[in-house]
């Protein structure tokens, strides 16, 4: 194995830039573990690339930062803040006997979290059963904790998402739609949407050309919550309209409230 030849073969650059195949990436990973020179060359290229990309930049518009953090608020980060681990990576280690209490507390926390997980799953199953029995699962929208549910959804490679913005102001993010290309499940993460008047309700549609698919109505009493909407086989563009309470058979496009593309 000629290490220098391997380093100069372009494989490192190809992998770092995301151009390599999975097999090539796995080969480089194992080569890095075996040969420190290759690992160092990879690290050096990553750092040089990073420095170059950070040196010459187009400054993003000031409003983008606000949009990102508003979206993060919608994704329930306020809640996750309280999940912060007590023994963080730089927490000072104190006296040994404290670890006994930490160990006891950890076990209690573990038992608590197991109980909580099963309770939530049980509640979710009850909700599903109740809503299925009601005939229309969307009459009583199924809300569940965004952080608990959103993470595994987003991590699925089959899930695509769309940012729903105002038609006249793309800077104003209203919601996110997540669509699973395999299961066809559709979820709506409600953002900063004001409540419509009492006899009106928001309705989500999937629109492709002249065809519109009713994905269900939803209320906005719970910002930052995820709502499972009706499934749709093919999805491209989403629209939220304001409709009479209970929903309409076809979208009232004059009252388009938010639009988004996958």
């Amino acid at each position: 194995m000629n290490i220098q030849e391997y380093i100069e073969s372009g494989i490192i650059e190809s992998c770092v830039l995301g151009l390599a195949t999975r097999a090539e990436q796995q080969q480089l990973e194992s080569m890095c573990l075996e040969y420190p020179e290759i690992n160092n060359a990879k690290k050096a290229f990553e750092l040089a690339l990073e420095n170059q990309l950070m040196k010459d930049v187009v400054t993003p518009p000031a409003g983008l930062k606000e949009k990102v953090f508003l979206s993060l608020n919608m994704h329930g980060v306020d809640k996750s803040y309280s999940y912060k681990k007590e023994n963080s990576y730089n927490a000072p280690v104190q006296r040994m006997y404290i670890w006994k209490w930490v160990a006891v507390a950890s076990i209690l926390l573990l038992l608590g979290s197991i109980y909580l997980t099963y309770s939530i799953r049980d509640e979710y199953q009850k909700l599903q059963t109740a809503t299925n029995q009601s005939g229309d699962p969307l009459n009583d929208s199924t809300y569940f904790d965004a952080i608990m549910v959103l993470k595994p959804i987003v991590e699925k490679p089959s899930v695509k998402w769309s940012t729903m913005v105002e038609p006249t102001d793309s800077a104003h993010c209203m919601a996110h739609v997540y669509w699973d290309t395999l299961s066809t499940d559709t979820y709506l993460l409600i953002g900063n949407i004001p409540k419509p008047v009492s006899d009106k309700q928001f309705q989500l549609w999937e629109i492709s050309g002249n065809r519109s698919v009713d994905l269900g109505v939803f209320d906005v009493s719970k910002e930052g919550k995820l709502v499972q909407m009706r499934n749709v086989n093919n999805a491209k563009d989403f629209v939220i309209t304001i409709e009479p309470r209970g929903g309409s058979a076809t979208p009232t496009l004059k009252t388009r409230y938010a639009i988004g593309k996958l």
């Binding site: 494989i11 190809s14 690339l49 930049v57 990102v68």
Partner: protein
């Protein structure tokens, strides 16, 4: 909203990569604000160079940082630097956006094999930034190849078909171009 209030603060602290990753994995807001301030301009520039449309690029960057926040537990510092990981998420998100709906219609620097090389002579303002700036130092053939694989997301087989040359030749020529890019980066240190 905690995030909305905090991000307006001008945080002067600097973190080492290992510290920053620790903060992000703990879902620390200050760590995330620091990450955004440090990486967003480079990520935005890279996405803009792929999509060439400001509004859509902003949406992609927004989605990228949300994904980073939600999936930071999947990041393995032993495999790659944090920025490398985020850049790959950004490229995938940009190509996903490009392959959906009307975004396919965005102006492209290379549209066909026939006019590919001549089109690259036309430089836009964003070619003066980041990796694009280095690509200008490559020969015309190498520029086309890197443009097609890195900025258009085409596979070697797709490029081979587009340019009418064998896939293995494409692979070899891309690797030579990448080595030249690395040498340019080293010279610029």
């Amino acid at each position: 909203m905690f995030f909305t209030i905090v991000y307006h603060l001008d945080l002067k602290s600097t973190y080492k990569e290992v510290e920053l990753v620790g903060l992000l994995k703990q879902k620390d807001h200050h760590g995330f604000i620091y990450l955004y301030d440090r990486c967003a301009p480079a990520i935005y520039t890279s996405v803009l160079q792929i999509i060439k449309q400001e509004e859509t690029s902003q949406q992609v960057v927004q989605d990228v940082f949300i994904k980073v926040w939600l999936t930071i537990d999947n990041y393995d510092p032993a495999r790659e630097r944090l920025f490398t990981w985020i850049l790959q998420i950004a490229r995938e998100a940009a190509f996903d956006k490009m392959s959906s709906g009307n975004d396919r219609q965005f102006p492209t620097a290379v549209s066909t094999a026939e006019d590919g090389i001549s089109d690259l002579v036309t430089r836009s303002a964003i070619d003066n930034y980041g990796l694009k700036n280095l690509i200008l130092e490559l020969n015309e053939e190498q520029k086309v190849l890197i443009e097609l694989c890195y900025y258009k997301g085409l596979t070697n087989a797709e490029i081979a078909e587009k340019l009418g040359i064998p896939s293995e030749t494409v692979k070899t020529k891309i690797k030579i171009a990448l080595c030249k890019l690395r040498n340019s980066l080293e010279l610029k240190k």
